[in-house]
Symmetry: C2
Subunit: 402 residues, 2 copies
């Protein structure tokens, strides 16, 4: 029997061998993939986490004076399961995919009664982890397989792409399918499809890219044969989103049109890995979008490129640059028969050439480039780059003011 | 067949008859119960909501060019259901109570892998609404019965009391039971029990008080006979928390030890009613608690008394006064054989007299009084008063800093 593993699709425990209290304990180390930083961790952070892991286990032992072991409470499967009635999950796709039925809960929707993007992303994370749960090879809380644990390997996410055509509403039942595939030689792709149970319509699609990292060295790793044997039988070719050449997201700088600074993570923004959770990232990104756009448009796609984790003591800056400005500027320029390579031009020009520019603009499609970075005295470190696309709402639901 | 109805246990649509654009459109009106403000609404707010309700329906009609009606997507039962496989719910207690099985999701837990209080409160809200869903008489999104709708009545919550002995962990399966009972002549009590499915241990208990309000006049209403006939067959006597004389929460003022000011709701903090959601209230309250307490203690009970809703344009202040300071001061004073009635003394003195003071202190039990209020130039308006009790964690899980 084989399995695969994938952590919460956002962040994972990263490790170091430094001794607690050493001078290097607050040093950040960066992890590179193809020359691009895809993550980092402070050494102090890892050591705190190791200590915490054992404490957490202890803390779970006693309730009302009774000894209750975590394994009794969790019953993590040690064999592949085909059905999990509690998670409403079942294995599909000839034994390798996972489908979970989910009811959109009252607190997962926004003011317009539709699920928020945050809720959608949370459900993608949840179903990915439950897929691993069903595989019977879940060895720790972050989704690594037994083979990965033996080899001191963890998954790190480098990219997410989610497209939402239609947001489910409160009380609606959706089916979320998820599966994995190869991504190059040493990566894994995880895809999702969200479908209306009532009508079968596809509401949303997602794809993500994962690589393996050695916990000790924090270096990216090839997939060891032992682990490949576990996970590769789960790989299928099917793709939720065709991305032949994933579009690169340009890096914003201080000239970005919108900027929110001095953002401080709060205790409630931290996830199990003691890093700022992905929902907080999304909020920080989306809070730079002007209110009138949020009123008239809905987010139809988001691409995230992860660079570095963000801890509780980091101060964050959220930058945002609208592309529609670029389009407008370029429209003016093209009308004036002026071709320029000013900021924002080249992409708009490509869109124009592809015949999409005026079409997009007419349809009210807006695009934004985002960057979350650590505010630092010397150099700002990138946390995540993003691109969002927005389409006009069918009806305009205004943002209420009392 | 009879049913009952209960909205999301926090906030509800409040209405007025004022015309949009009139001078009074931003006026707040307060709703009193036994002389105590328990809520208010701006007229503009209601009118926006009415308009929005119809737009929301429209907005849900078309997806991918296909007409999909909300009722097709939701399938709200028109008859009492005994089982709902999607919600994992069933009717218990001889046909009047509701039990839902819930798996604690990866994003519902905090850094220590245990469910947050926010998640617990969300699950109470969800199960309450699903209880109404099962009853077959759910007539709108906010939980009113058909009889209530006919009489233009809605539920408003006036009080919540939640006790958590033990927080479930990620992946753990819990059973949440909920049921309703009479509260005085014209109120309803809703209770909850959260139990470990694996061991049967009770992890948490909750109770809440609800009254009916006329949507038009915003006055509290008696329960009409027609509605009583719907809901009273669901009432049972059983109480999750015995509260013979619910303790009153004193009102804090600017002398409170901890104060966070200029808190601004964001778009993502709004619920379906376009008011700040309860989770945000909790966060604002708990963010005043010093970090060292959050590190060493866990919240074991919270009482909330709701006074007024908070809209997107309100600026909020969160006040917090620790009781343990009072205890410490009083211990000193008692040792000095000095009795005083200084701020914080009387309650501590009572606890002391009851033999609880040193006992509580030894056990590391801490108590705080909270107040969220609207920052106003003239008079600060209360949103919610709270009391939290904290007990020492079995192990000390430190707040990580990078």
């Amino acid at each position: 029997m084989a399995s695969f593993s994938c952590p919460a699709p956002y962040f994972v425990v990263r490790c170091s061998t430094a001794k607690e209290g050493s001078d290097s304990s607050h040093k950040q180390r960066y992890i590179k993939l193809n020359g691009v930083n895809i993550g980092s961790v402070s050494e102090a952070d890892f050591l705190t986490q190791s200590a915490r892991a054992s404490r957490t286990l202890l803390a779970s032992v006693a309730a009302n004076g009774c000894v209750i072991e975590e394994d009794v409470r969790l019953k993590i499967p040690t064999k592949k399961q085909l059905v999990d009635p509690h998670r409403q999950g079942l294995i599909i796709e000839g034994g390798v995919g996972y489908r979970q039925t989910v009811v959109i809960r009252s607190y997962e929707v926004g003011p317009d009664k539709t699920a928020t993007l945050e809720s959608v992303m949370n459900l993608l994370q949840e179903t990915a982890l439950n897929h691993v749960w069903m595989s019977g090879l879940l060895s720790n809380g972050f989704g690594a397989t037994h083979g990965m644990m033996k080899n001191n390997l963890i998954w790190v996410v480098s990219r997410m792409n989610v497209e939402v055509d239609h947001y489910p509403i409160w009380g609606e039942i959706v089916e979320i399918d998820t599966w994995v595939g190869a991504s190059g030689k040493n990566g894994m792709r995880r895809d999702w499809l969200i479908r209306s149970q009532a009508t079968g319509h596809v509401y949303a699609r997602g794809t993500s890219t994962w690589v393996m990292m050695n916990q000790e060295t924090r270096r990216l790793s090839k997939i060891p044969e032992e682990v490949r044997a576990e996970i590769s039988p789960w790989f299928i070719e099917k793709q939720a989103i065709k991305e032949d050449v994933p579009e690169k997201i340009s890096k914003l700088d201080d000239k970005a049109k919108y900027m929110n600074s001095h953002l401080k993570p709060k205790r409630s923004d931290l996830d199990m890995n003691h890093h700022v959770n992905n929902v907080k990232y999304l909020r920080w990104m989306l809070e730079t979008i002007p209110d009138h756009v949020l009123e008239s448009h809905q987010l139809s796609s988001i691409v995230l490129e992860y660079r570095r984790e963000c801890g509780s003591s980091d101060i964050v800056q959220s930058l945002c640059e609208p592309e529609e400005d670029g389009i407008l500027r370029d429209v003016d320029k093209i009308e004036d028969n002026e071709i320029s390579l000013l900021n924002g031009f080249s992409l708009a020009s490509e869109i124009f050439k592809a015949g999409g520019l005026l079409g997009s603009f007419d349809k009210g499609i807006l695009r934004y480039t985002h960057l979350l970075q650590i505010e630092g005295e010397a150099k700002n470190e990138e946390i995540v780059r993003g691109r969002t696309t927005w389409k006009k709402k069918l009806t305009n639901i205004p943002f209420p003011t009392q």
